[in-house]
Symmetry: C2
Subunit: 336 residues, 2 copies
């Protein structure tokens, strides 16, 4: 491995001078600078971030928390996989590398952050139980952002779920539906997607004087298809008195579709279905699923931008909301 000392002895200058030439810092004559650069080049010098980090306390490393144990879909997740892809690319443009944070060996995220001297942390898709460990980071003044969960003191960049829920109800009502069920994911304070989507949904119904019948709400304990299937079964066996159902995400909606197919419930003739996420599957299933697309790129861009600001000491707003977009396909019927 060739170090700045090797360059120093070869050029006759000293290590700090070489360092300055390489980094473009300090004042050096053009002659020495170019000479050092040239020799560095031909010796195949590569800087060591490790050594630099040890002295500067800056690693240019971003820790990413991504632990999808909820859906068991790993990186192949319609929403978070997309956010991560874009977030990574933005951070790399800014000169940062991504390292995954984990909690193996009873290690906390904070330990991991310290171990690797990480400059900032992005919680892309944390486990619900991770939230305390993430809050701990904030308390230790590690720059953090979240792209899903609400964590005290940490800026969250997230879809405007309430607005989307509102628009969902509006869309269904405009299509002539009045009795609309809501199949929720787990209601959680920290991961409030399901709850907020429901609140916006109910809000519109209330505003219109239609109201929401509590019997038409069913909560699924997990965000997966089996949970959607079973949740909808409970709902359907309790009451069939509705013409449409808004599923809190597409995966739950696929569970509904499976149930509907088995029971011979026609979608959208008998039952209209509205999803959330624009999973890749949504445009392939039959009928094609009408759904909301979360703006993954914008969420990732904002998360990256804010995290970068936090690292330079600029404070962040507690929450940034990004609108979702309705993707109309074939699963909602229009009544005259």
């Amino acid at each position: 491995m060739v170090t700045i000392y090797d360059i120093a002895t070869k050029t006759g200058f000293t290590a700090p001078t070489v360092s300055k030439a390489l980094n473009g810092t300090g004042k050096l004559s053009e002659a020495t600078r170019s000479k050092i650069l040239e020799v560095a080049g031909q010796m195949g010098y590569k800087p060591s971030m490790v050594a630099r980090t040890l002295t500067t306390k800056k690693s240019n490393l971003i820790g990413v928390i991504y632990d999808d144990t909820k859906m068991n879909t790993g990186f192949d997740h319609p929403m978070f996989g997309g956010v991560l892809t874009r977030f990574r690319s933005q951070m790399e443009k800014a000169g940062y590398d991504i390292v995954f944070l984990s909690r193996t060996f009873q290690m906390s995220y904070l330990n991991h952050v310290r171990l690797r001297s990480v400059d900032g942390v992005a919680a892309i898709n944390p486990d619900t139980e991770d939230n305390k460990c993430i809050a701990e980071l904030e308390q230790e003044h590690i720059p953090c952002i979240s792209t899903n969960d609400y964590i005290p003191g940490i800026c969250t960049v997230v879809t405007d779920n309430e607005q989307a829920g509102y628009k969902a109800a509006e869309y269904l009502v405009n299509h002539g539906h009045r009795r609309i069920a809501f199949l929720a994911g787990p209601f959680s304070e920290t991961s409030p997607a399901a709850k907020e989507r429901f609140q916006g949904f109910k809000k519109y119904l209330d505003e219109q004087g239609i109201g929401f019948d509590g019997h038409l709400l069913e909560e699924c304990p997990l965000w997966n298809m089996a949970s959607g299937y079973q949740g909808f079964m409970r709902l359907w066996e309790r009451t069939e008195d509705f013409t449409a159902v808004f599923a809190a995400n597409d995966t739950l909606a696929f569970g509904i579709m499976q149930f509907a197919e088995e029971r011979g419930i026609q979608i959208p003739q008998r039952l209209s279905l509205l999803g959330f996420d624009d999973d890749r599957v949504a445009s392939f299933c039959r009928p094609r699923l009408t759904t909301f697309r979360q703006d993954r790129d914008t969420i990732a861009d904002l998360a990256a931008e804010i995290l970068l600001s936090l690292i330079t000491g600029i404070p962040a707003p507690p929450i940034v909301r990004v609108p979702a977009r309705l993707i109309e396909r074939e699963s909602v019927r229009r009544y005259p």
Copy 2:
């Protein structure tokens, strides 16, 4: 930040002694060891990997090359997203962290590896053009493995594509098909999935005396749906004289399905379709797609295991093949 020196002064021992106690190395009396550990605990000591790496030259960091510009699906990739998920988890169990390697700022992978003092590299889903940059790593004796592309000198853990192609032909022939088309992805020496699947496919046909009519082969320049759509259109407009088509992956198969739907070609009544990858979509599209599932977990497990061996100096075989499994669904018709 609390360092071993802080612990040293507090306990009255010296830094090396503290180091030994913390790491369990060297010989220390039980008394001093437990005292040091206790103080370290109550002071909230966290080791610095950066400092340790500087002296030991071991970072416990694995560089991952993942640059899906071919399918533009990022981490949400049916095959590679799954491999990465599992690979990460295996490496973490072994005490390694994952950092993504990139080539921004004209930086080569080698530069990046040196910059971060990475212990080993896994090319999960490289760009085709990356291969030279990866070969360079091998030449510099950086432990490397690949889970897709063949790179000179680097161990590749990959699906046994030829065997799968062979089984595909066998399956279709056993279902009464004789005129079978092959819709290929890009034929490439370094990323040989398409080619090997075709070779195995043709091999079975030849062995059975059925043979393969060259007119029934069409190559798609990209692994995406639009490319599959167009490739199949070229094929279909040249000849309709076949009852089944084997698509080199599911994404191409979805392009075929779209074309078939637009032209009113019934699948599987008029045209049987066999895919590859078991994309999540495959079980949701209509008809459900019969396809091969690559064994993502096994590939990731072997890749992790071999990379770990390489790091400890144990040489690796040039190639490890993992069988794929046929998933029977509804897209292949049986003829009497």
